[in-house]
């Protein structure tokens, strides 16, 4: 059973393998930190997983929200610095689709995961996407301080969204968040299809 799981993971990894690192920092003219801030809001690959993580953390309550609020940007920044400093390691292009799919399904299902699991998800998300950002910035020859801007923007988005969701009291408002989760999962599944078909 375990070998089958490992084989499935290995096949999935090979299928999703890509030799590109994505950073796509926008030049705002205000310096690398602001380039990093604008990066988050102009790049759905990173923005949507952050939104999904914030929604999930908020649905799981204030404690989960607070932990995700601090662990997600810190993990993102640390992994970004590691990705920038270290050798260019290739991560699958399907990372974004899998992040969206997993976080979207968990949000749509409104599962009570508990603070440790939510924190682990936030750290995992931060490590993978932060690494991609750092490696991409290094490849593009941009300044590493852009990562500070990205992490700051993530903190703001996560703070606003998770606090808003955690404060929701009426049942239909939580349902609206779950619908948003199902939309994110649908986007992730379509993106996985685009990736596997090699059309993007």
């Amino acid at each position: 059973m375990r070998r089958r799981v490992l084989a499935a993971i290995a096949i999935g990894w090979v299928l999703l393998w890509s030799g590109t690192a994505h950073a796509h920092l926008v030049t705002t003219g205000l310096g690398p930190v602001y380039d990093g801030v604008s990066h988050l809001f102009t790049t759905f690959d990173d923005l949507l997983p952050v939104v999904a993580m914030a929604l999930l953390a908020g649905l799981n309550g204030p404690i989960s929200g607070r932990r995700a609020l601090f662990t997600l940007p810190v993990a993102w920044l640390a992994a970004g610095v590691a990705g920038y400093s270290g050798p260019v390691a290739l991560l699958p292009a399907g990372v974004t689709s899998l992040s969206l799919l997993a976080l979207g399904i968990l949000t749509a299902a409104d599962l009570k995961l508990g603070p440790p699991v939510v924190t682990a998800l936030a750290v995992g998300l931060g490590i993978v996407h932060g690494w991609l950002n750092g490696a991409g910035i290094a490849v593009a020859g941009r300044e590493a301080s852009g990562l500070v801007g990205i992490a700051a923007a993530i903190f703001v988005v996560a703070a606003l969204l998770s606090a808003l969701v955690a404060s929701l009291q009426r049942p239909w408002t939580r349902i609206a968040v779950r619908v948003a989760g199902s939309w994110i999962a649908a986007i992730g599944l379509l993106l996985l299809g685009w990736t596997l078909s090699g059309r993007i």
């Binding site: 779950r178 619908v179 649908a186 992730g188 993106l191 299809g193």
Partner: protein, 201 residues
């Protein structure tokens, strides 16, 4: 509390107006992002068959009430995306156009009859047809555009069509509204028959 809610609503309205009036800054962070998003937003509303079926899902959900009113919009996008996923992988699905037309006929009929099947059956029916809609419409990305932003636009537009159907369906609380919904369902079914005839011919 009332004052706070009013102030919050005014702030949101002001923010919305400011956002809508703002001049766009074209950053070109990734090529084809904006065009992909716009294409994705436009695509679901460009085909009447898709529009009618999506709105009918919302109408039916409103007729069925809780929990269907929220279960159908939660499940539909994911199943629809699964249909798009199959299409992107090249899996063959015969009779796609017939399936889309049949969805309008059956979903319209359900609204017209104000049918109340078990929740699982209703979800299965909607999910079954969602695969055809996703297969047909979820994969039509023009060259050079971003697949991610196309998917974002496509899912948002489809969700908004559901929301429109649910909003219209809220007239179900009144007697005249119930009649109007049934008439609307019959109209959707009639349009579906036309689409079916066109697909078969």
């Amino acid at each position: 509390m009332k004052f706070e809610a009013s102030r919050c609503a005014r702030t949101l309205a002001a923010a919305g107006i400011a956002a809508l009036l703002a001049s766009p800054a074209w950053a070109h962070a990734q090529q084809g992002q904006a065009s992909g998003l716009l294409t994705g937003l436009r695509h679901p509303v460009s085909g009447l068959d898709h529009v009618l079926a999506m709105v009918a899902v919302g109408l039916w959900g409103a007729q069925l009430g809780a929990p269907a009113i929220w279960l159908l919009p939660v499940t539909f996008p994911m199943v629809m995306a699964f249909g798009g996923f199959l299409g992107l992988l090249g899996v063959s699905l015969p009779g796609v156009e017939i399936g889309i037309a049949a969805s309008a006929v059956l979903l319209g009929s359900m609204v017209a009859k104000e049918a109340h099947p078990p929740l699982g059956s209703a979800a299965a029916l909607v999910g079954f047809f969602a695969i055809f809609h996703g297969y047909a419409h979820g994969t039509e990305l023009p060259p050079g555009q971003s697949g991610l932003t196309y998917s974002v636009g496509f899912v948002i537009a489809t969700g908004c069509l559901h929301a429109t159907g649910i909003a219209i369906g809220l007239i179900h609380r009144w007697d005249w509204g119930r009649v109007a919904l049934r008439v609307a369902g019959a109209a959707v079914a009639a349009a579906g028959v036309f689409f079916l005839w066109r697909a078969v011919a």
